[in-house]
């Protein structure tokens, strides 16, 4: 069952099925649930993006998610053992290939021009399939964690994103080049599992609710106010680009910026803009996800960014020759990156885990994590014989112990982990917010002075109590 924005309507749908998942509501803090009607039915709450993957690998028999993530999985792995069994007809939306209203690109241009198109997207596999189908001669895909609409036109030529409809796309100052597919909430199943088991009592309940006249979960929801994405053509070529975080890092970053004395308009919780204006001359600011910043800085789309050391390291472990470097430790947002196992595992260190595996007392490790490259390097360096890294999009705690054996997670106090009956067996490193930059931009004479001035301001502010 999905967490997040799908939760409310999925909960309404499940109530109609009478399956008795009473704990599944917006206020819940429980991730594991038991059906009051069918004793053999249990459920877990995951990030909706992870649901098709988990169903496909056979950890779950059924899942409820939006079909975009199913299509993304199938575009990447056509042989995935997952199929859609019913459309639930809410969360209706479409995935578009789009460009900025401000840029002069037509559908004919993209297959005709030999340019290397920069495509930003949360759907890298769908984007690649589309690019091949449209016969783009050359393209580069930048997978992102979100805020896709913020990139064009300055920091990407094209984007592939999901919106409710064309009107919503236009309201983000984007124009459609091609509609890739539609998406809506749906029930999916593992194709092996449905062939081998009798699920008729559950399927009957799904079917029943589908036949109901009154389907409250299908009543269109009001659109949420999006962050303003107005494009302002103001960037002189010698301006430098600074990326700031959205999401829950935003408050901490804003508080830090206050200490620097830099005045910002459009970077406050009640007034968020993708392109805030500031009192700094010669600096363009954009608001994107902190996870995406290292790669964006590496590519010169941004010169500086405020992100976490965790995301910088994850990037550098994947691309050791990347020109991204840390320029200042900003001190806030302190977390530990830790290796976590279930309390029941009879081991207190990674060495004893290795020992258990080599003596055949523990199966090859499955590691669920948002930090794919950090996890991979950690296990490689510790000589763990055989392991699989399962990428997740958050809410990782819930994977243990059934769907994974270990997590590589960040934690502030360790309380959430303890509440889920998990224990820390190793601390990989401490992460704080940092200012990152591109070594190559520092070599450009027209940027050097501006970057150095900003680095100095940030360093001084970080030194203040």
């Amino acid at each position: 069952m999905p967490k997040g924005k799908l939760l409310a309507r999925t909960s309404e749908f499940l109530t109609a099925t009478g399956l008795g998942f009473d704990d599944y509501n917006s206020k819940t803090r429980i991730y594991r649930m038991q059906s009051q009607t069918l004793p053999a039915l249990t459920a877990k709450m995951l990030n909706e993006r992870d649901i098709p993957v988990q169903v496909a690998i056979g950890n779950y028999d059924f899942g409820i998610c939006t079909s975009d993530w199913l299509q993304e999985l199938q575009a990447r792995y056509p042989a995935s053992r997952v199929l859609k069994i019913a459309d639930l007809s809410y969360d209706l939306s479409s995935i578009y290939l789009a460009c900025s209203e401000a840029s002069n690109i037509s559908p004919q241009d993209i297959s005709g021009r030999p340019a290397a198109w920069r495509i930003v997207t949360e759907y890298p596999a769908l984007a690649e399939a589309t690019a091949c189908k449209m016969r783009l001669k050359r393209f580069r895909i930048f997978p992102c964690w979100g805020s896709t609409e913020a990139y064009p036109p300055e920091n990407a030529d094209l984007c592939v994103l999901r919106v409710r409809d064309e009107k919503a796309l236009r309201s983000l100052n984007l124009k459609p080049l091609s509609k890739i597919c539609d998406s809506n909430a749906c029930i999916i199943a593992n194709s092996d599992s449905i062939q081998d088991n009798d699920f008729s009592s559950l399927l009957k309940r799904f079917a029943l609710s589908q036949k109901m006249k009154d389907k409250p979960w299908q009543v269109p929801e009001k659109a949420l106010a999006a962050i303003s994405n107005d494009f302002i053509a103001r960037a002189p070529a010698d301006n430098i680009w600074l990326a700031l975080a959205d999401g829950h890092q935003q408050i901490h970053t804003a508080a830090f910026l206050e200490k620097t004395g830099i005045k910002l308009v459009g970077y406050a919780k009640d007034n968020m803009q993708r392109r805030p204006s500031s009192s700094l001359a010669g600096v363009n600011i954009k608001v994107i996800r902190p996870q995406d910043m290292p790669q964006q800085v590496a590519n010169g789309n941004f010169d500086l960014a405020v992100t976490g050391k965790d995301w910088l390291l994850d990037h550098l472990y994947q691309f050791p020759s990347s020109p991204v470097t840390e320029l200042a430790d900003l001190g806030f947002g302190r977390v530990r990156i830790v290796a976590v196992v279930s309390e029941e595992v009879p081991a207190d260190s990674i060495d004893s885990i290795r020992e258990l595996i080599s003596r055949g007392k523990m199966a090859p490790l499955r590691i669920a994590t948002e930090y794919v490259n950090i996890a991979d390097k950690y296990l490689r360096d510790r000589h763990i014989a055989r392991y699989r890294v399962i990428p997740t999009w958050g809410a990782t705690e819930v994977y243990l112990p059934e769907d994974a054996d270990m997590l590589i997670e960040n934690t502030e106090t360790g309380q959430t982990l303890a509440r889920h009956k998990l224990k820390i067996i190793d601390t990989l490193f401490e992460s704080t917010a940092c200012l990152i930059g591109n070594r190559r931009s520092l070599e450009l004479p027209f940027k050097k002075a501006k970057i150095e001035r900003l680095v100095k301001i940030f360093r001084e502010a970080a030194g203040k109590k």
Partner: protein
């Protein structure tokens, strides 16, 4: 024991490699004799070399092994070479473009994902490319070369099928479809679904008629093409392309080359512009090729005509009769009475001398793997040997290397 081998990967055992080398050597000898020179391209290439429009179909691109390299922060992926021709065209345009004619050959592995894992995901090809100012004589040269290789390999019941990408592209052009519909149709045909052509909703009856005529008729001579050209339903553009095709088949007729014309016989012709051909033996495609005059410019080079073909080693190897297996007649096992250092040194010496004389000498101190007619045992730290002839069941004691060679040479079948 559970296999540790990757799904879809394959080990080539000594017996397999014998067939493999046999095909490779036959192919290489013919190529060298026809004036072709060998090249090797890297296993890794940038993906954009293959996405450049018209080189690989979207379905093929969906099966490439692509990934971000350690320095892939630029977002551009690399691929394990999915095709031999495109890298060869790149190599030519970057290094040899000054040559009026380049005749190149290569033996290479190509990688493509296959879902079940029952087929090989890594396959081998023997390919040739003829680049530069070439015309129909080059098409005929390639076909003759391919047939020569087939003959040398001893594959007798092979069938040569011809088609022409120019004709098919002209026909699709006649349909006057929107770009999106045309691309979708092309994708279908490239995957072998020719029925998609007849399914297109088309008001132009003449074009529809021409399409079904071409798809259903098969011919065995250039006369067939002359007939097609004379049909009233065939448009001028298509006639022009049929004329080009006929020019090649007339030449093949004169050369005494037998073939069958079948327009539906080609697949994946995305980069082909003219003649396409394939060789079928025992129901399997073992060789295919054709003309791709746009390819060099598509990978960033000048506008240069080109054509080529490749043998599929995996299929071809299965069809060749292995030459006599390891030659027992020329094989000697070297043994020692004792395993002390001087004995072993003497054994190494005699083995070296026998190899110089053209024999295969396998050291048999702890066992051997070859089938051998002969064995030589070092009896003494000085030179004293027992030579056994397993074929005749005889044995001789001798004291010099020359005597050993003499005994084996006495049977007259030794020597390089």
């Amino acid at each position: 024991m559970e296999s540790q081998r990757c799904k879809g990967a394959r080990d080539l055992l000594p017996e397999d490699m014998q067939r493999f080398r046999q095909v490779e050597d036959t192919f290489r000898n013919s190529c060298i004799n026809w004036g072709y020179r060998e090249i090797k391209t890297p296993t890794l290439e940038y993906i954009h070399l293959f996405t450049a429009s018209g080189t690989l179909t979207p379905a093929m691109l969906g099966r490439v092994y692509s990934f971000l390299d350690w320095d892939g922060w630029g977002g551009e992926r690399v691929v394990l070479r999915p095709d031999g021709t495109i890298p060869a065209a790149r190599l030519y345009s970057e290094n040899l473009a000054g040559q009026k004619i380049a005749r190149l050959y290569y033996i290479t592995n190509v990688f493509a994902f296959e879902e079940t894992g029952k087929e090989n995901r890594e396959k081998w090809q023997c390919g040739v490319e003829l680049l530069g100012d070439c015309d129909r004589t080059s098409d005929a040269e390639l076909i003759s070369l391919a047939l020569e290789v087939l003959k040398s390999l001893g594959i007798a019941k092979a069938e040569l099928k011809l088609s022409h990408a120019g004709i098919l592209k002209a026909l699709i052009g006649e349909l006057k479809l929107s770009a999106a519909t045309r691309d979708a149709l092309l994708d279908e045909i490239l995957e072998g679904n020719w029925q998609a052509l007849t399914g297109i909703n088309n008001s132009n009856k003449a074009v529809a008629g021409a399409i079904s005529t071409l798809m259903n008729l098969k011919g065995k001579s250039s006369g067939f093409l002359a007939n097609l050209k004379a049909l009233p339903s065939i448009s001028l553009n298509v006639k022009k392309e049929i004329g080009r095709f006929a020019a090649i088949t007339e030449l093949l007729d004169t050369l005494g080359c037998r073939y069958a014309i079948d327009f539906t016989s080609i697949r994946g012709f995305e980069y082909y512009t003219g003649l396409c051909f394939k060789v079928i033996a025992n129901g399997k495609k073992i060789c295919s090729g054709g003309r791709y005059d746009n390819l060099v410019s598509l990978v960033g080079g000048a506008d240069i005509p080109a054509c080529g073909f490749a043998f599929y080693l995996d299929e071809t190897c299965a069809m060749v009769k292995p030459w006599s297996r390891q030659k027992a007649e020329k094989t000697v096992l070297i043994k020692t009475a004792k395993k002390s250092a001087p004995f072993i040194a003497t054994a190494f010496q005699i083995a070296g001398a026998l190899r110089q004389a053209g024999l295969i000498a396998e050291l048999d101190f702890c066992g051997s793997q070859l089938e051998a007619r002969w064995s030589v045992t070092v009896l003494d730290r000085a030179q004293a040997f027992i030579v056994k002839d397993m074929a005749k069941g005889t044995q001789n004691k001798v004291t010099t290397v020359n005597e050993v060679i003499g005994i084996m040479g006495g049977f007259g079948k030794i020597g390089k």
